[in-house]
Amino acid sequence: MHLGTAFGSGAGSVMRPGPGTPPCNSHGKKEVSMTHQNKTLTREQADAFGRELLALRQEVVADLGERDVEHIRRIIRAARRSEAAGRVLLHVGIGPVSFVLGTSALALSKILENMEIGHNVMHGQYDWTGDPDLASQRYEWDLVCTGDDWRHSHNYEHHTFTNILGKDRDIGYVMLRVVQEQEWKPVHLAQPILAALLALFFQWGVGAHDLRIDELFAGKQTSRQFARRARPFLTKATWQLFKDYGFFPILALANAPRVALGNLLANGARNLWAFAVIFCGHFPEGVRVYDQAETENESRGEWYARQLGGSANVEGGRWLHLLTGHLSHQIEHHLFPDVPASRYPEMAPRVREICARYGQSYCTGSFRRQLGSVARRIGRLALPGPRRPVAAKPVAHPAAGRVASAWIGRRAA
């Protein structure tokens, strides 16, 4: 398909009405903060858009090699060493200086393990290496959430149904109202406090996420189903508590309280960080949500377009990228979840260029801007207000079944 004609003012391209469409950085030219209007793509345009992104992915995949394995092994080495250093400082140190250093080193190792190693390895970003230590389906991380629950709720549900209301359970983690398209309920009045609690205890929120406690209360799952889901989580959580507040403190003998406190603070720091990074990825202004009807018979290209529309980047230096596990490149991550994350920075300019040509906005901003935007939203949406309808898609959908033949999209069971 020739792109020049595909994106003229031709019949296919429709301007999205975009109620309150957000100030997101426009791409391509100078840094202009303007009200950007996304072009709604026809299915053919979306597929052409998706194919260009896939071609970019293939280019990077063909280039994967030693450099990428070196990178992840370097990070693993840093995480293990920093964990060992942290534990030694906490266990045998005396005085506040070694306490602060030890706790920080431990927190750093937990952040690296959680973000750049665990999250990325479990996405299958290193499956191509054949290294059993980097195998997505077997990896287990140092977090109360089990690897299996995470692979289901995150890799499958969140990444497949990104930002679809009623299907993506990551939208506000089912408890918070983070977009105006969600119905207001009285419980949302407490959401600033709820959000703070979720941030502090984020690993517990993530761990319990796949148990679907809300569905238990709503009568959508039986207590037996719930018990079956909860058992692996409870087992893992018990071991994690024993590790952090039993085993390691006891090993430190007289330093036990110091070690327990250090572990608590390191876990807390990692929780706050992970919460901030993840909430910046999908809920700042400029990111949109979708409804189920609109995504029913989505093609593969439309899936790509939704991943772009539902994600936001955070700008920063190399260290920010590393500490966020490259989720600062949330957009690239959602477009290419199984490409090694350390490649996202080099892919980003190409993605922006493709988006520009297809008239798609690319939401990015500083950490302060994105976090501030999410925080303001959580505050604003706590108050009662009308539910905003999802910006409906004006293009008529071809019937189901046609998709598969064109370019393999999601196939029914």
Binding site: L64, R80, Q137, T160, F242, I408, R411, A412
Partner: protein
């Protein structure tokens, strides 16, 4: 006795659960490898201590394995794991050294365009660490050793029989051994000098090397020529390893004289080297190695759809190639990725069932 064993087992399993749950296992593994990369708590690794150029295209790699190596019997092979540009790749190599030594060696012929053999030749030197599988294979000398032996090899197929000969020599057990080897030129004879030396020192060893540039003998393998050289070949316990064409002819000769039961064989290439490709993906035979079931594909659907259609329930999630829930080890065969067009034909590669279509008969780890 019983209870001591019970307590020991309980202790071992408790310890491993504890180590895994507290993430101590991976810390331990990490530090062991940091100290010395050849050491690992989870497998066999070996360090290259010497590289010997045997011929123009063949090198021996002398390896020092870690404590997990349990030794080998002469004639067995090991699955060598190397990392080529970040990717782990495995190939079998026969162990060419005699058993019972601290060092072992493999002898590799460079196959033109061959991924692993070329890489070993170009990039692996002293100090390099490779992974190994436990010694395996039943191409081994019988116990007790038969008195009259025929060791018959061609090209790089000499490696397992050389281990046997070295073993016999070390045990001073060479009573009546005929060692027949086929090579293209004299310069291509692997272990040539050592063979001459052994023949000079052991009266019971008869060494016959047939090379194509020898004017007196026929080129390559010849039935009548062999029968003239080793008239009692059919009565000897025979060990054969070499190129496919040579092996086929030897097997036929032994069958013709009714001596197949004396013939032990080792093939370097898995028997069906090439399974025909099926462009439509239809009528393909999918063997499921764990459940021991098989499925024949119908229509052009993805492997996930085909398996589901046949009543299997493989794990899956997104059904569009994103989440990797359906990731499955493919032991053998060729599949094509519908999204990217990539073709996987290496053995033991992980594939995504939901976006893969079969292109040949397959064996899956399901």
């Amino acid at each position: 006795m019983k209870s001591a064993e019970y307590i020991a087992n309980l202790w071992r399993s408790t310890r491993s659960t504890l180590f895994r749950r507290l993430f101590l296992d991976r810390q331990a593994e990490f530090w062991v490898r940091e100290i010395d990369p050849v050491h690992t708590l989870t497998g066999i690794r070996a360090q290259v201590v010497d590289v010997i150029a045997e011929t123009d295209d063949t090198k021996s790699f002398v390896l020092r394995p870690n404590a997990a190596w349990r030794g080998h019997r002469a004639g067995q092979s090991t699955l060598v794991e190397v990392e080529i540009d970040g990717v782990r790749v495995h190939r079998f190599y026969s162990i060419s050294s005699a058993p019972g030594q601290a060092l072992i060696s493999i002898t590799v012929k460079r196959v033109p365009g061959g991924r692993v053999s070329s890489w070993l030749h170009q990039h692996v030197g002293v100090g390099h660490v490779v992974g190994l599988g436990p010694a395996s294979g039943d191409f081994v000398l019988p116990t007790p050793i038969s008195a009259r032996l025929l060791l018959l090899s061609g090209g790089s197929g000499i490696t397992p029989v050389m281990s046997m000969l070295r073993d016999l020599a070390a045990r001073s057990a060479i009573e009546d051994v005929a060692f027949v080897h086929y090579a293209r030129t004299r310069a291509d004879v692997i272990f040539g000098d050592e063979l001459e030396d052994l023949a000079a020192r052991h009266a019971g060893l008869r060494l016959i090397v047939c090379v194509d540039d020898d004017d007196d003998a026929p080129r390559g393998f010849d039935e009548a020529h062999l029968a003239a050289l080793v008239p009692d070949f059919a009565e000897r316990s025979t060990f054969l390893c070499g190129p496919g064409a040579l092996m086929d002819r030897v097997e036929k000769l032994w069958a013709d004289v009714g001596a197949s039961h004396h013939l032990q064989r080792e093939r370097f290439v898995a028997a069906p080297l090439f399974t025909p490709l099926v462009a439509s993906g239809e009528g393909v035979d999918v063997r499921l190695s764990r459940s021991q079931r098989r499925v024949v594909t119908r229509g052009a659907g993805t492997l996930l759809e085909q398996l589901e259609g046949a009543g299997e329930r493989p794990a899956n999630g997104c059904r569009m190639g994103i989440c990797r829930t359906c990731t499955c080890l493919k032991h053998s065969g060729t599949v094509e990725n519908l999204v990217t067009g990539e073709v996987s034909s290496e053995p033991d590669q992980e594939i995504q069932l939901c976006i893969s279509v079969p292109r040949s008969d397959l064996e899956l780890d399901l």
